[in-house]
């Protein structure tokens, strides 16, 4: 083959090499393979696989040389066969330090989130991976750390049980304390998935009590029991359904409320909500007041820097709460 494909830049060549070192072991049996299969293995399109293999064997000289000496590449419409007499590259390359670091970061996150009895498995997985790295150098770390939230061991165990119910399509009986209730409520739910958003974990579930999709904050679930009863998963369900603009939608729709945040704190709110500041430096946000109790608390945590513009009933509720607090 004489056609050359120019890949002058090292980054492109590096990506090509990475893909080829995954594709060639998959082709090591000297048999024809569907291109789609190889493309899936390397995580690229069929076209990219075709281009990489062509670039590998297309030499500027008509004489094959180097690794390609004796190589044959048969590219069919949908299939590929690669044969090399040298026998090189029939195993993938060992994990690199960067790959190990990435997995290790994820394992460290899971370790942080898991109940103590699950941590040894994660530690063993980390150790095992270090043996799959080719370099002699120690794994160390790549200067990255990640964690989602600090949970109590009880919360970690509850999440594990719920995730087990989700995997096994098992009804879970949860003991839940809603925001305003001072007593627990026990209800069976069909757990569908867990979502982490804005610093908290949530359970998305079909609530049998309300006959509707509900989202429960995990740190308000006080206990969970996996029941024997199994349920059929809703094929049309996706966890994206419980999110709007990165926020989790909880329960029934509430009344709209409008809050103005003073210029002193507005830029933080504006950044979080993705809103522009007003000319005076304040920001006004319309949001859903899921419950009046929630709305009052939300406004109070900003002290004099948050002001309810509407509805009037919420303004009055905030004033009542403040009067009580003046004497508390």
């Amino acid at each position: 083959m004489s056609e050359t494909t120019g890949f002058a830049n090292a980054a492109n060549a590096a990506e090509q090499l990475r893909r080829l070192l995954l594709a060639l072991p998959a082709l090591a049996d000297d048999r024809a393979h569907p291109l789609s299969e190889i493309a899936e293995r390397v995580g690229a399109s069929e076209e990219v696989v075709r281009r990489d293999l062509t670039a590998l064997v297309s030499r500027v000289s008509d004489e094959p040389a180097g690794f390609t000496e004796g190589v044959s590449l048969l590219l069919g419409a949908n299939s590929v066969q690669f044969q090399t007499p040298s026998g090189h590259f029939r195993r993938p390359m060992a994990l690199t330090r960067e790959e190990l670091h990435a997995l290790d970061l994820g394992l460290a996150m899971l370790q942080h989130e898991s109940p103590p009895d699950e941590r040894p498995v994660l530690e063993r997985a980390r150790t095992r991976l270090q043996r799959a790295i080719g370099e002699v150098a120690s794994a160390g770390n790549n200067g990255r750390h990640a964690s989602l939230a600090n949970e109590s061991v009880q919360a970690q165990e509850i999440r594990r049980t719920l995730q087990q119910c989700i995997r096994e399509r098992r009804v879970a009986r949860i003991t839940y304390r809603s925001a305003t209730a001072d007593a627990d409520d026990v209800r069976p739910v069909q757990p569908l998935g867990v979502v982490w958003a804005r610093g908290s974990w949530y359970l998305a579930a079909w609530c049998k009590k309300n006959e509707g999709l509900r989202v429960f904050r995990l740190d308000r679930i006080r206990a969970v029991v996996a029941e024997r009863t199994r349920f059929t998963f809703f094929a049309e369900f996706s966890l994206e359904l419980v999110l709007r603009d990165g926020k989790v939608l909880i329960g029934e729709e509430g009344e709209a409320m409008t809050v103005r945040y003073s210029p002193r704190i507005a830029r933080w709110i504006a950044e979080r909500e993705g809103l522009p500041l007003a000319e005076d430096g304040s920001v006004t946000v319309e949001m859903e007041a899921i419950q009046e109790e929630w709305a009052v608390r939300h406004v109070l945590r900003y002290g004099p820097d948050a002001e309810v513009l509407a509805p009037v009933s919420l303004q009055e509720a905030v004033q009542r709460a403040l009067r009580d607090l003046c004497d508390a």
Binding site: H88, R144, R217
Partner: protein, 355 residues
């Protein structure tokens, strides 16, 4: 004649190295790498090309060793198959299964590594978790690792659909890439930062110590050049970054061996931050509802009363706001000054809203 593409030189060099059990010098290797034997080009030029290729392959994680002979006059190069190739992987069974070793050089000595199914499950979860953090370079590495493991092992090809990590802001991939690069090479970076407290933009030159994903955002943990204190910079507030390229091959600074990124990045409550004197505050949780329950996990328990928690506070104003936000479900019991601070805050807020 056009230069041979880099990819072909790399593959030829890898094959030439892997074929040998013993180290070889450049003149030996060039016989199997056509680009290094190109007629009409000077030996020094070709040698430099080889050096560059070797460095780039090493940067990709290829463990090419350089060995210098006794008097230091000649370098030889080696790539051990055992270090280059992935070990044979299998799931741990009661009876180990024989491994099908391919024909070719270097496969006979590769070790066999057995994973317990739950370990493999954890690794796949870890890879997809990392991929969800919004850093494309990290996601790329995690997925690449998973694909390698997937050559031998039944790793899931898709992210679990029953867990979703929702990010408020997707980080700028190019920015994270450049910060990651500077961190790895220990190079100073200069950027424009929007300080929210001062509501002002300014140029900063810092030494990156780490990148941390905390509470849904990426932070750069870095030291102002020449200063002692480490600061957190939210990556989404950084723009116009440049990495110091002077003396590109050498580090601009060192990170002390005792620096513990995880400990440094440990999340703290807003009232715990700063250098002010620490005050111990006792708080009573009057009710246990969905609002107060998560808060009751914070602070320290008071043995004699389960409804009390003790907090260490450096920023009383922030703590008073936090308490106010419970609308009376949480009250400060001690010290009296903090009790009064919450009352004053309530009075001022009431006066403001009534006005």
């Amino acid at each position: 004649m056009p230069a041979q593409p880099k990819l072909q030189r790399w593959i030829d060099l890898l094959a030439a190295l892997l074929r040998r059990k013993f180290p070889a010098d450049f003149d030996t290797l060039r016989q199997e790498v056509p680009a290094y034997a190109e007629p009409g080009r000077k030996h020094d030029t070709l040698m430099r090309m080889f050096e560059r290729d070797k460095d780039e392959l090493r940067a990709l994680g290829v463990p090419i060793e350089t060995l210098v002979d006794g008097d230091g006059s000649m370098s030889q190069y080696r790539l051990a198959s055992k270090q280059f190739y992935l070990p044979f992987l299998q799931l741990a069974y009661d009876t180990p299964r024989p491994v099908q070793r391919p024909r070719g050089p270097g496969y006979q000595g590769l070790p066999v590594l057995a994973f317990e199914p739950e370990e493999l499950d954890a690794i796949a979860r870890a890879a997809y978790r990392v991929a969800a953090l919004g850093d494309p370079a990290l996601a790329h590495e995690a997925m690449s690792a998973l694909r390698k493991l997937g050559h031998d092992l039944p790793v899931p090809r898709e992210a679990p659909t029953n867990e979703l990590i929702s990010l408020e802001q997707k980080p700028d991939p190019e920015l994270l890439d450049r910060l990651g690069d500077a961190l790895q090479r220990r190079k100073r970076v200069t950027f424009t930062y929007h300080s929210m407290h001062r509501d002002a933009e300014g140029a900063r030159t810092v030494e990156p110590f780490g990148l941390a994903f905390l509470t849904g955002h990426w932070y750069l943990i870095a030291r102002d050049a020449g200063a002692e204190t480490l600061r957190h910079f939210r990556v989404s507030r950084i723009r116009d970054i440049t990495v110091n390229e002077a003396k590109a091959q050498s580090a601009d600074f060192t990170i002390p061996a005792e620096f513990d990124l995880a400990e440094h990045a440990r999340s703290r409550q807003a009232w715990e931050l700063g250098d002010a004197e620490q005050v111990e505050v006792t708080v009573r949780f009057r009710v246990q509802n969905g609002f107060t329950m998560p808060a009751m996990q914070l602070g320290d328990a008071v043995p004699e009363d389960a409804a009390l928690r003790r907090f260490r506070v450096r920023r009383p104003d922030t703590f008073a706001l936090w308490v106010l936000g419970f609308a009376g479900d949480v009250l400060i019991e001690h010290p009296p000054a903090m009790v009064e601070q919450v009352r004053t805050l309530a009075r001022e807020t009431l006066a403001w809203v009534e006005a």
